[in-house]
Symmetry: C2
Subunit: 298 residues, 2 copies
């Protein structure tokens, strides 16, 4: 079993995490949370999303959050952008890296963003053209790569097909995502075999949810494959919209505990991430699901 000497962690707690939390978090608390994550040594932090406040009220203050955070040199502060209107707001807020999100599952695309895969890619083509022309970097998220709540199994070839189209749009990285936390480690190599046939391995990230407890085992399979970028969420912030109370995003602490043990460098400090998580946990109505955080909480 091989592990790379160093991996990059993409901290998605403030966006993918908070977006799925029922508690309304104040702008000041979001800013303080993100600043603590910067202090923990994170190199990439997904800060917010420039989506419709009608659809996602938790992200309505995206511009204010970007205006309030202390940007550390060399740290990438990113935002999700669904369309050109969002891009305009992001650029106005001084965002230099955006994320776009497509689905590998046709049904999930229809139900999650009310667009077919083709229609969403057409929208993103415009967004990417404009973003790249303005000098922004674009990351592509690809959801339901390991299974879909509506369609079940998604063929690796279908994942690869949409991943390739994202790459054609000019994204620098494709985050192969297990949106519903259904992946097991036996799926990792087959999906990556298909994806890396069309996207260079160095441009592939893995984004796991811990809904069924397999996230770290999946990461281990990904490390063995040679993947060097993994998404995670402080404290495991972000429940599972399909099972209230269940775990959602892989917790950054759990990921770090394993990577630290394996001797894989990340530059991120486990104790400081835990401190940031406890700060935001105190603003929620439930405990955060990170196993490490729960085991080490006073």
């Amino acid at each position: 079993m091989r592990v790379p000497p160093r991996v990059a962690i993409v901290e998605v707690g403030p966006r993918d995490g908070l977006q799925n939390e029922a508690s309304a978090i104040t702008t000041a608390d979001k800013i303080a949370f993100i600043d603590r994550l910067s202090d923990a040594g994170h190199h990439v932090i997904e800060v917010s999303a420039f989506v419709s406040p009608k659809w996602v009220p938790q992200m309505a203050d995206a511009a204010e959050v970007f205006a309030g955070i202390t940007r550390h040199a060399g740290v990438r502060y990113t935002a999700l952008v669904p369309n050109r209107a969002g891009l305009t707001r992001a650029v106005a807020a001084g965002v230099t890296e955006i994320g776009i999100f497509a689905a590998a599952s046709e049904t999930f695309s229809q139900r999650n963003i009310n667009q077919s895969i083709d229609a969403s890619l057409a929208t993103y083509a415009e967004v990417c053209r404009e973003a790249l022309a303005a000098g922004l970097a674009v990351r592509g998220y690809l959801s339901t790569c390991f299974g879909c709540p509506y369609e079940g199994v998604i063929a690796p070839s279908q994942v690869a097909r949409v991943a390739a189209r994202l790459l054609e749009l000019g994204v620098f990285e494709v985050a192969i995502s297990d949106t519903i936390g259904i992946a097991h480690p036996g799926q990792v190599a087959p999906v990556l075999d298909a994806v890396t046939a069309v996207v260079p391995l160095a441009q592939v990230a893995l984004h796991f949810h811990d809904t069924r407890g397999t996230a770290l085992a999946n990461v281990l399979a990904g490390l063995d494959y040679g993947v060097t970028t993994f998404d995670s969420s402080a404290g495991g912030l972000g429940g599972c919209p399909f099972a209230p109370g269940a775990a959602g995003n892989l917790a950054t602490e759990d990921l770090l505990y394993m990577l630290d043990g394996l001797g894989v460098e990340t530059g991120v400090d486990l104790a400081r991430v835990s401190s940031a998580s406890r700060f935001i946990e105190a603003r929620l109505v439930h405990r955060l699901p990170s196993r490490y955080l729960q085991a080490t909480s006073p």
Copy 2:
């Protein structure tokens, strides 16, 4: 990454699990729980412990539980036994397989069972002699193999030293245990390298706790090494005595979800185990920590 075609699961929920639960469970409920686990297809169930009721009140009804359960043909129903007095009670209850528990950490042995490692092995030598003469099988548990709450790191050579002494006593299997849930997958091969130098791989089981979320990743590393016996607890029953509220034993459901995905045969039915867990969860004051169970609970 290799996986064996079939592995054996040792279900430890009724003993290692319930022993660490604060709620007193009635004898009838324990029997009903164990019968449900038998119905789920388990081949080995750790039923109870013949320990002093003063020390472990939850296990005071060990004989009544053994008398009440429906024994399925071919299923091993086991009990922990700390000394000759316990063995006498176990034999009287019709137990045909016992477990003894030593520690790899000298300090943990002193604090957990008030005996040095040497003193505990002297006690177990008598227990094993008597048990083997009576035709019982004996399994050896070895705790703190991946770290100790008092001593920190435990050298793999020390783990191997005590494992070898257990084997000399006549145990048919040594369960290399991560008592405090501190193991990461990078430790699995070095510990197994040391242990399998003195204990044949086929006689080595792995017993992980999910306290820091790494249990399934550790199992994956164990599968890759060729281990074919893993302990787990229905629902993740059994908290962590060092961190109230935190996860303890690896949940059988989470293990099964991963093994089923990997195509590894176990003979155990995930839905039926979940049903058994929900039965016992209703008698506890908290939710069971199994990720799979939480994600699939109504």
